[in-house]
């Protein structure tokens, strides 16, 4: 079996292309973390997170600055969320976090409202001011009940 330079080159290119596709699927699409821009973890507690899922977006003024790391229950039975945000951001400690919905029925994401304090949030700090997710079915429920009450009063 002798070497065939052209064939070997083609096989090499094929293997590289295949591995490139695997890497693209793993890192870019699959979200496997690699070096990338450094992230800092922040924590926030919420009473209600609605349908928020890990890897959902974290935005400031609609611009993506990070993603949700993990979601678990803390000792007080509130949802404790880890936010992995761009470490280059300088966020004041009175920054607040709220859970929003993209469109009427779209994905949940976390929006940060940047505060004005001089002290900055350090990696691992907790965001104290939070606004829980608005559950559409609860809003509708309240509307229906308030409508029924009004009907009784008349």
């Amino acid at each position: 079996m002798s070497r065939a330079p052209v064939r070997d080159l083609l096989v090499g290119l094929f293997v590289l292309a295949g591995l490139g596709a695997v890497a693209y699927l793993s890192f870019s699409v699959g979200g496997l973390s690699y070096g990338g821009p450094p992230r800092m973890p922040l924590y926030a507690d919420f009473d209600e997170i609605g349908g928020l899922k890990p890897r959902a977006q974290v935005v400031i003024s609609g611009v993506k600055v990070g993603q949700i790391g993990s979601i678990r229950l803390d000792q007080g039975y509130r949802a404790r969320i880890q936010l992995d945000v761009d470490a280059a951001l300088k966020l004041p400690i009175d920054t607040s976090a709220s859970i929003m919905t993209a469109g009427l029925l779209g994905d949940r994401y976390v929006s940060l409202q940047v505060g004005g304090d001089n002290k900055l949030l350090q990696p691992g700090d907790q965001i104290t001011m939070t606004e829980s997710a608005v559950l559409l079915e609860r809003v509708i429920g309240k509307l229906i009940y308030s409508g029924a009450d009004r009907g009784k009063n008349q």
């Binding site: 079996m1 295949g18 591995l19 793993s26 699409v29 496997l32 890897r55």
Partner: protein, 257 residues
């Protein structure tokens, strides 16, 4: 009475076939680990099974991604959820269509050719000639082909998926006017490495083993006539395709990918 006899005969033949396949697989496993390692032959097969399948895989991936995007859009737009098009296209391609369609295409394109090649070697007594020279035909002929099929399948599947994602993006964003940012972000937030991408590669790997084994086994057990080669080639395509689809269900049911 003859009908029951036929059924019994078919059952015995099926079990014998299965046992033969398992024995054959064990022999290939041993030949793959024991020296000499046939690296050159393996590369030859990588070229034949991989590089030469590249065009068909990319074209089919593109077409499947495009039609998936079109169908998905038409369904999602009724619910006003066309922002999730990326997630629909990505998850269907990665979890299901990529590995399965790649395996079916590779069966038709490369598996049948492998069986026909080995079958012709059997019919023209080339394998007997090898045995005469005390060269094990499983080591020299079957092992490189089966191994190359296994190695090639995850790579082809990944390429198929990437082409499909590109095709889906073209139709969804270019033609139907879905926002490019929401397409990519719904794709990226829906697809998880451990749940989806690893499972997809595992599926492709298992299909590669399956197609490689069936193709080489059918070639080796060919009845040495021209009709026998034809029957073996047909049988490879049928058996491999059916078992890919059946295995696909069980892999999904067992491991949830």
């Amino acid at each position: 009475m003859t009908a029951i006899g036929d059924l019994g005969f078919a059952a015995v033949r099926f079990v014998t076939d299965l046992g033969g396949l398992a024995h054959f697989a064990a022999q290939i496993g041993r030949a793959a680990l024991a020296p000499p390692l046939r690296v050159r032959l393996f590369l030859d097969e990588l070229f034949k099974l991989g590089v030469l399948s590249l065009v068909i895989i990319c074209v089919c991936g593109l077409a499947v991604g495009m039609v998936l995007s079109l169908q998905g859009y038409n369904t999602l737009v009724r619910f006003g959820a066309e922002q999730s098009l990326g997630a629909v296209v990505g998850l269907s391609l990665i979890r299901e269509l990529g590995p399965v369609l790649t395996a079916l295409l590779a069966t038709g394109r490369a598996g049948s050719a492998t069986t026909a090649e080995i079958g012709t070697m059997v019919a023209t007594e080339q394998l007997d000639a090898l045995r005469m020279m005390s060269v094990d035909p499983i080591d020299l002929v079957a092992t490189p082909r089966a191994l190359a099929m296994t190695a090639v399948m995850p790579l082809l599947s990944a390429l198929f998926i990437v082409c499909g994602l590109f095709g889906g993006y073209l139709v969804g964003v270019g033609l139907m006017g879905v926002d490019a940012g929401s397409y990519m972000s719904s794709l990226e937030s829906a697809v998880d490495f451990h749940d989806d991408v690893l499972g997809s590669l595992l599926k492709a790997l298992i299909f590669g083993v399956l197609v490689g084994l069936v193709a080489t086994y059918r070639g080796h057990t060919t009845v040495p006539t021209s009709a026998g080669v034809a029957a073996a080639t047909t049988s490879t395509v049928v058996v491999a395709s059916v078992s890919i689809l059946v295995f696909d269900y069980f892999i999904t049911a067992l491991w949830g990918v």
